[in-house]
Amino acid sequence: MFNSYTETTLKYYPERCINCKRCTQVCPHGVFEEGESTVVLAHPSDCMECGACALNCPVQAIGVQSGVGCAWAMISAALRGKDMDAGECSCGEDEGSCCRQNSEKSSIER
């Protein structure tokens, strides 16, 4: 109750892992940790579905339906009769946006 963030679409197939550890480098929330012969899915509920791990896994050992967890974008898409999942983050586009300001998150980036 009151926690909608316990489940995500992240899937990990350790039998395919070649232990290159790229996922541990790209994940901003430490979801994967180094293990003995493969990486370990240590904190699955911390996943924010950014998709960095899956895109950078050279052997497709990770799958995730990546997207931006932005209510603004999803509600706008739904209101315009579009598919909520297809609703792209509209940051930086002329009419409003979810991270409706490019400045979002920028202080931690370069």
Binding site: F2, Q25, H29, N56, Q65, G69, I108, E109
Partner: protein
Amino acid sequence: MEIKQHSSCSCIPNVQPPACGCPPDNKPLPPISTITSTITFANHLDHFLARWGWKRSEHRVEPGLYRLGNPAADSPVFASANYTLSFDALRSALAGIDGYILVLDTKGINVWCAAGKGTFGTDELVSRIQSTGLASVVSHRKIIVPQLGAPGVSWPEVLRRSGFFVEYGPVRARDLPEYLKTRKATDEMRRVQFPVKERVVLTPVEFVHVALPAIAAFIILYYLAGYVAALAAITTVVAGTVLFPALLPIIPTYDFSTKGLILGVIISIPFTVSYATITALPLWANAMAALVPMLIIPAVTAYFSLNFTGCTTFTSRTGVKKEIFRYVPVMALMAGSGIVIGIILGVSRLAGVI
């Protein structure tokens, strides 16, 4: 990272042409501008305006290759976005370090958001490496990409198409000097945080975004329902756009909507009390008037709070979607019944009942 580096590159045609520095069609390579790490007053002003959402898509840097300090052929190359806040964070963090900065065209959007949209991505990185002739500028084949660019960049693809090996640097540019010593990022450097400073810095733009409707609500409510209602409208907007981001981790529960409801209930107390104690009204009208702020304010703050998910660094699409289905109907019901009660009270007053 036991990937063999593609270190050989020659300008003989047909030998991995994209991987080397031969400009396409033998066009001359664009000149490389030299920049410094100094953040000037004009830069600070630009950052300030960006934070307030002033001409938000116009805080851009020209995409291309830049020389920072006095780099040599073996100096590191850093990728960045063409958003001034991103670019300036990088160049100022690299004070005293010689290197190259490859600015991708992200349409004036920061690295992480652009990576999510794919504009900071494999295609743009590869084509920018080629159009700048990076391979003929540096002798190595490594490019340090910010970690938060990874949602848009596939390193095996970049390697295959450009010959450049992507090295993911730390999340924050300020950790780069430390990172460059060992070329290894600590766990702490790899984690995204969302401390109060980073949350509060987002609030001006949040507030500006809803300022016009808020002023309209203030004026309308002032004439329809008096100054207390007008004050309640402004308080609600400030609570939802400024107070909520600032207090985010302190408010109980995990879901943004429930956090927003809790904050809204607290904010509504003085207004509820004020309406409940109007002595000129009969008791039933007091009770109904008290219900109005109690229903509408939490619904609105909860809606603002839910919409803050896109600005945070950790909400998943799955979770946010769940929240939308769970709570938006509740918010609509609360706000709707609050408005209906308000209208009934208004009509009663006009009809002379109260």
